[in-house]
Symmetry: C2
Subunit: 300 residues, 2 copies
């Protein structure tokens, strides 16, 4: 099978993970958590979100977290940016990359950011333009690329339409999210076949949730299609607040086990990553959902 030699893991636990945890984590604990992640060899951490605290109270300390973490030179510290107000706050404290987001399906977009898809473009466009003027790179998230909790199936063409618009705005990379974790490998293949007619594999990251146990299989099919960037969350933290049972980004440690065993380089230390998982598990006060952590606990 055709596999990449090297893969980049983008850790989204502090943002996509913690924004969906019920327990409010202390700012200092988030900072310690991110500092632990910075010591694993990860080259990319999505730290927080500059969304209005009214929408995501769990991340209302975005500014303080960003300010207090110990930044390492070879790590990109990114944040989710919903609009110009968010970007301005983020620029005050300094971020390496601005991440904009929208959905491929109309009703999820409406539920998630309270706008139609068409009305979302100008908002994102403004953020992208200003971020670029500030020499930031910009990542675009497209949610529900393999299924929507309200509409069901989402076609590759729907995804392509949004992808076109985001790349036209100047977004550097697009992360394609199976937000509710319904996708299977032949659907991943079908989607990527369509997108890779217009774009190169390195322009995309894949963002899988393991809701139905298919995330690792989807990552492997994506690698076979040439994709080399994958989002994951330590401890399998997080999910989608608008879709029942949809929680759980694929766990970084489970991705790492698989990639290591397949002989694919990531430069991330599984041992150190598990330490970060143990740290956050203690803070969120529940058992995290990953296979490697279950083995560590000696579960039968």
């Amino acid at each position: 099978m055709k596999l990449p030699k090297k893969v980049v893991i983008k850790e989204v636990g502090p943002r996509d993970g913690l924004q969906n945890e019920k327990v409010q984590i202390e700012t200092s604990d988030k900072v310690s958590f991110i500092n632990l992640l910075s010591d694993t060899g990860l080259s990319y951490i999505e730290v927080t979100s500059f969304v209005h605290p009214k929408w995501i109270p769990q991340l209302s300390d975005a500014f303080e977290v960003m300010q207090q973490i110990k930044r390492q030179q070879d790590v990109t510290y990114a944040a989710l940016i919903p609009n110009m107000q968010g970007l301005e706050r983020a620029l005050q404290v300094g971020i390496d990359e601005a991440n904009v987001f929208m959905s491929a399906s109309e009703s999820h977009n409406k539920n998630n950011i309270n706008k139609t898809i068409v009305d979302t473009y100008p908002v994102l466009n403004e953020v992208v333009r200003h971020a670029k003027q500030q020499q930031l790179t910009v990542r675009g998230y497209v949610s529900t690329v393999l299924g929507c909790p309200y509409e069901g199936d989402v076609s590759p063409q729907q995804v392509l339409d949004v992808v076109h618009r985001l790349f036209d705005m100047g977004v550097d990379e697009i992360s394609l999210g199976d937000t509710i974790g319904v996708g299977v490998p032949n659907e991943v293949e079908r989607l990527l076949e369509v997108l890779l007619k217009s774009y190169k594999p390195h322009q995309f990251a894949m963002h899988f949730h393991d809701t139905r146990g298919t995330a690792i299989a989807n990552i492997i099919k994506s690698m076979e299609m040439g994709i080399t960037i994958f989002d994951s969350a330590v401890g399998g933290l997080g999910g989608c607040p608008y879709a029942k049972g949809a929680s759980g980004n694929v766990a970084t440690e489970d991705v790492l086990y698989t990639l290591n065993k397949m002989g694919i380089t990531t430069n991330v230390s599984l041992e150190r990553l598990l330490q970060a998982a143990q740290y956050i598990e203690h803070k969120i006060n529940r058992t995290v959902n990953s296979k490697q952590m279950a083995i560590l606990r000696g579960e039968d």
Copy 2:
């Protein structure tokens, strides 16, 4: 991607699952459980094991279970047979298929059946010969095909040696087990490439444990290599009593979700299978380990 149109799921929960559960299940509950499974559309159920009760007390009621289940005409009811004494008991009550077993790695074989690999062959040979004389089909299990808890890596050549011997004995089908759930898709591919030089895909089943989250990915790679028979256990029951953290056959309901979504026919009703999972979950008195059951419980 090249996929089969139809896949056969062989349900091993009542045997491989329950033999590793700590709770002793009542005989009548096992019978009800198997009867529920018979109503799902499954064409194959491994009911029990005629191993000496000293070794597996959980299945000491093998005879009674086999006797009391309601057999459906289009379902194969198989049982694990370690030796001639086991076969004789099984023949008294009547089984459709006799399943013999051994390991690809010397030390796991020694720990599991207290014999060297070489000393195991004559025992299995006698069982296979007698079973065939009684018009039974025979299935051979080869354990630890992708790794051994004592020896680590197991080479495709080691597996091939055992496979040769079993097919030479007259075994009809061989189930290749990743007993401790360490394998990844490129290892599956490497193994099958070697075996399929000498044999046809339909001669093999794959038996994955989801210990490290790679089972579904391994099933998909196996299908791409032409394999169309997969073992699984409802609720992800079971595991390997000699390897810490190795428990958990891949859950039948998770396999089923994936196959259904990929458009591959199994004839098994997911809805009815989940009813069987709920039934046994109640009896074993712990939460079963499958994604579909977590969704059913509405877990976040």
